[in-house]
Symmetry: C2
Subunit: 338 residues, 2 copies
DNA sequence: TTTAGCACTTTGGACGTTCGAGTGCTAATT
DNA sequence: AATTAGCACTCGAACGTCCAAAGTGCTAAA
């Protein structure tokens, strides 16, 4: 559909615009890049590219700017993902290989590292536990009316919460209740946990049905809570487009919309998903580009948000490196083998 | 030092400026407020107030704007803290009286409510546990090499963390270690916990010294971690001063400086602390005003950050109401009596 | 097919003018 | 002695004009 020269021109425009945030003109293009043709020829090509929808013009006498479609083509087929600088590799490696005990911590370190390297804003959620299998449930009586509920998954994610008891319970009773829960829950997929697993419990414990139900409800609640971490929100102000009040304001609204962020971080597969500007499903994101991916081994999901004029190649190279390093580290030493 | 008329004028200027964010002129003042003198008189007074340092002038032909000192005098002696609107009272009450199990949750709800009512940005930390007394320490073996450490304070704050064990331990050993920790730690002020409490443990457990030390280190670590919550960061963009790029950028930098926020939230006493503009100790805050206070009953600390042109009276009335409601609720029903 | 040349468009900065709001000062008034 | 009317003055915001810079599209020549 696009001949080679058009591809080359489109690629160059996108890259120049990403680097300089100024609309790109024909003269600038021939002067700075080795295209082997005159500005006039470039102009003809650019006019066609614009007609085909790959470029936009802010106004008649300005240069061209990539359209969403232009970015899309660039990302899908023109972009070259180069490798990272040595110091970036060292930094990323060291961020990931910190001594970490709880799996949900890992993405947080990755998130911070990515925001530092890319200058964009990064958010992350921990492991998606609803897809996980329960390895153990522990009830711990903290004092006579506080009960700690701990759920451990096969992947060693740990979730815990505290509830207040209406009536005091002794250790023996707690242990009995715990045993019931173990029998009913261990080995189950968390997403399948429902109150009616309690249907067939013996008579001896039916007196504690109330407490059992409330514990089960808490378990269903905590596995759904998934804190998001946020890094580099001030990075955005390094990019010139955020001097525009409206864009800055919209960005703040995105930051505050935690629920929305959780929603976009529900990444299904192992791909790297790129949503450019108005490709975004949620209108709040339409001024931005969003790149999301799952960390391997179900460590969590990460989202990177930046202007549509985002350095896609850079971000992708960072992501690919991270996926690689996590794969080799955590798969190799069996850290997550349960 | 200031005669009554000057006080009245200063107060009126501050309040008008807070309400309208426009420099206040003499004509505007007499037209909108019942001062009983002519603009000329006001001008003379304003000139003197400026000379005394209570007012600033953006430029020769602009009205006056309060200086830091002007706000200070206003806050200290001129301001009238009015009572809240009915709907605000209902909303606050309902936010605080939600069913809440873990004490550290309470401030988070309060924080969100305050940011909604005031249109400023609010951050909060949970109870300051270092000043608390340990009620219990529990070790729970999650699986053969994961150990959950739980610390409960007298005030019923719960902190927990997971560590990975180097060598596998059985339940009996864990129980022995737990017993040692109980003996050594229960009843202690958290701030006094040190590794050398382990000095005089019996021989039988000295084989487990390594694990004891690492547990103790974890305990000292977790009691120091204090997550901050943040609400209404996008509220700031409702205030006209934040259309200035520099102010917006500085504000983002404040948001990202979590360590700094923790620092300013170390509130010592039961007062409400107000730091206006360059009164702030940390330069990052010098463009803003900061109001901090401790929630009663050691529930946590809350900080409200806004422009120097902040509605101090409104914020203070909210804070006072909150302190009152927490006092009456949690003191009365003995929720925190442990 | 490519390019040189040129007329045309638009933005943005520099500059000047005007207008409104506000000031400080002086002299008159209370 | 305190207040106020009056007035000259100052400054910024808004507006228009002008011009340069950058870029375009089109035409005609190479």
């Amino acid at each position: 559909m696009l001949n080679d020269r058009k591809k080359k021109i489109l690629q160059t425009i996108v890259e120049d615009y990403i680097a300089n945030s100024q609309p790109v003109g024909s003269k600038r293009l021939v002067e700075n890049y080795d295209l082997g043709v005159s500005p006039a020829t470039i102009r003809n090509e650019m006019a066609e590219l614009e007609e085909m929808g790959y470029l936009d013009k802010p106004h008649t006498s300005a240069g061209r700017v990539p359209s969403t479609l232009g970015y899309r083509v660039y990302v899908d087929s023109l972009m070259k993902v180069d490798s990272l600088k040595d110091e970036e590799i060292v930094y990323l490696k060291q961020s990931i290989e910190k001594e970490i005990v709880e799996v949900s911590e890992i993405v947080k370190h990755v998130s911070k590292a990515v925001s530092n390297i890319t200058d964009y804003t990064v958010f992350a959620t921990g492991p998606n536990v609803t897809d996980a299998v329960i390895q153990d449930v522990k009830l711990v009586l903290l004092n006579k009316n506080m009960l700690l509920i701990v759920v451990v998954t096969k992947e060693e994610a740990v979730k815990e919460t505290v509830i207040h008891l209406e009536k005091d319970l002794d250790e023996d009773t707690i242990e009995k209740i715990n045993e019931i829960l173990r029998i009913k829950l261990v080995g189950e997929y968390i997403k399948n946990v429902q109150v009616n697993v309690l249907k067939h419990i013996g008579n001896e414990l039916s007196a504690y049905m109330d407490i059992l139900i409330s514990i089960l409800n808490e378990i269903m609640k905590i596995i759904k809570t998934n804190d998001i971490s946020l890094d580099g929100s001030n990075n955005m102000f390094k990019h010139p487009e955020f001097q525009k009040y409206n864009l800055a304001k919209n960005f703040m609204d995105v930051l505050e919309a935690k629920q929305l962020i959780k929603e976009v971080l529900k990444v299904e597969d192992d791909d790297i998903n790129i949503y450019i500007g108005d490709e975004n499903q949620y209108s709040e994101f339409k001024d931005f580009s969003l790149i999301t991916f799952n960390c391997p081994e179900n460590l969590g999901a990460i989202g990177i948000i930046g202007p549509t004029r985002m350095d896609y190649a850079k971000v992708l190279s960072v992501i690919k490196y991270i996926k690689g390093i996590i794969n080799s580290k955590y798969r190799k030493d069996g850290y997550l083998d349960g």
